[in-house]
Subunit: 203 residues, 2 copies
C-alpha cells in the first residue's frame, strides 16, 4: 500500500494514526501542499479534486477520502477493532466520529484556511468566517468537556476512530492558536493527554 | 422508531429517503427550526448540539447524525443494500458519499446559512464566505458532470446512499438559486432526473 500524504495536513494524519494502531506497514509519497504538488496534472489523475490523503493499492486501485481508507483498512485488518464490533457500537462510533469531524476538525480547518497567511495568495479567504468558526469551536470545547466528564473516550470506554479524528482536529488548531485550556476544560485536556500518549499519535 | 425531523432541512431528508428505499415504517415528530424548537431544553436532551435528525428507538436509545442512523438502519434492514455488499464497494460508496456531503451538501448549506434572510437574526452570517462557497459548488458541478459522463450513479452502476446525499444537497441549493443547468451540465442533469424520479425522492 502506498499513501499519498502531506505530513503537516490533518486528514492524512488520521490515516497514518489508524494504520499505526493496526500495525500495518505501508509506503508513503509526500505531496507537498506548500509546493502545490497536489495541484499537478499527475496528482489529479489520482484525485481530480486535488485532496489528500489518497491510498494506492498494489493492484493499482486508488481510494480517496480519509474515512473510506480507514474503513477499507478496518475490513482488511480487523484487529484491533477501531470502528465497532456490532451494529449499535458501529452506529455510536459513526455518530461520534461525525461529531469529531463536523464539529471540530472541519471548523478548525476553516479557521486556518480563512485566517492564515499560508493561504493568503492561494485561495480567496474570509477572515470574518474564520472568526465565526473560532467562536463555534470554543462552544464545542465547552460541550465536549462536559461529555468527557462521563467517559474516557469520545464514543465510550475504549479508543476508536472517533478519537483519532478529534485528536487530528484539535492538534491542527495549534497553528491557529486554538488550544485546550486545562483550567477551564479539564476533562477535554485529560482526554487529549490520554490519546496523545499513545505511540500512534506520533504517526 | 421515531424520527425527529424538520421537513425543510436536508439532513433529515437523507434519512427519510433512506428509510423509504428500505420500506421501513416509522413515526415522526416535527422539530421546527423556524420556531426554534430544536433549541429547547427538551430537545437538547435528545441532542445537546441541537441538530436534526435524531432517531429514537422503541427501547429509548437515541442516535444522532444522518449517516449513523442510515448505517444502523442498513444493518437492521439489509435489503435493498445501499451502503455496499463487500469491502471494496463499501469503501467506494463511503468515498462518494463523503464527496457528496463535503463537496456538495456542506458548501450548499453554507451558502444558505451565510446569505439567506432566514438566518439573519438567528446566527452571525458571513455573506462573503457564502459567495466563496457558491463559486466552489459551481466548480464541483463541473467536475461531477464529467464523472457522471462515465456511469449512471455517484458510486457506480447502482443507486446508493451517495446518491441520496447528493440529491438532498443539490435540491437544497434551490433556495439559494443554485441549480443544475442542463445545457452546460447534461450528465449531472440526467442523473438528477434519474434519482428524482424514484418514489423515495418524495419522502
Amino acid at each position: 500500500m502506498l499513501l499519498y500524504h502531506d505530513p503537516r495536513a490533518p486528514n492524512p494524519r488520521r490515516v497514518r494514526i489508524f494504520l499505526a494502531e493496526k500495525g500495518v506497514a505501508y509506503d508513503t509519497i509526500e505531496v507537498s501542499i506548500a509546493a502545490a504538488a497536489h495541484q499537478t496534472e499527475e496528482f489529479r489523475r489520482k484525485n481530480p479534486i486535488a485532496l489528500l490523503p489518497v491510498l494506492e493499492l498494489a493492484d493499482g486501485r486508488v481510494l480517496r477520502e480519509s474515512m473510506a481508507i480507514c474503513r477499507w483498512v478496518e475490513e482488511s485488518h480487523p484487529t484491533p477493532n477501531l470502528i465497532g464490533v456490532d451494529a449499535w457500537e458501529r452506529a455510536q462510533i459513526e455518530q461520534w466520529n461525525r461529531h469529531a469531524e463536523l464539529e471540530l476538525l472541519w471548523p478548525i480547518a476553516q479557521v486556518f484556511r480563512n485566517t492564515n497567511a499560508f493561504w493568503q495568495d492561494r485561495i480567496k479567504q474570509s477572515p470574518e468566517f474564520g472568526e465565526i468558526m473560532r467562536d463555534h469551536v470554543g462552544r464545542r470545547f465547552d460541550w465536549l468537556d462536559r461529555e468527557l466528564g462521563t467517559r474516557e473516550y469520545f464514543a465510550g470506554d475504549r479508543f476508536t476512530v472517533a478519537d483519532i479524528t478529534a485528536l487530528c482536529g484539535i492538534d491542527f488548531g495549534k497553528v491557529s492558536n486554538l488550544r485546550i485550556n486545562a483550567a477551564t476544560h479539564p476533562n477535554l485536556a485529560a482526554w487529549h493527554q490520554r490519546v496523545s500518549s499513545r505511540p500512534s499519535a506520533k504517526a
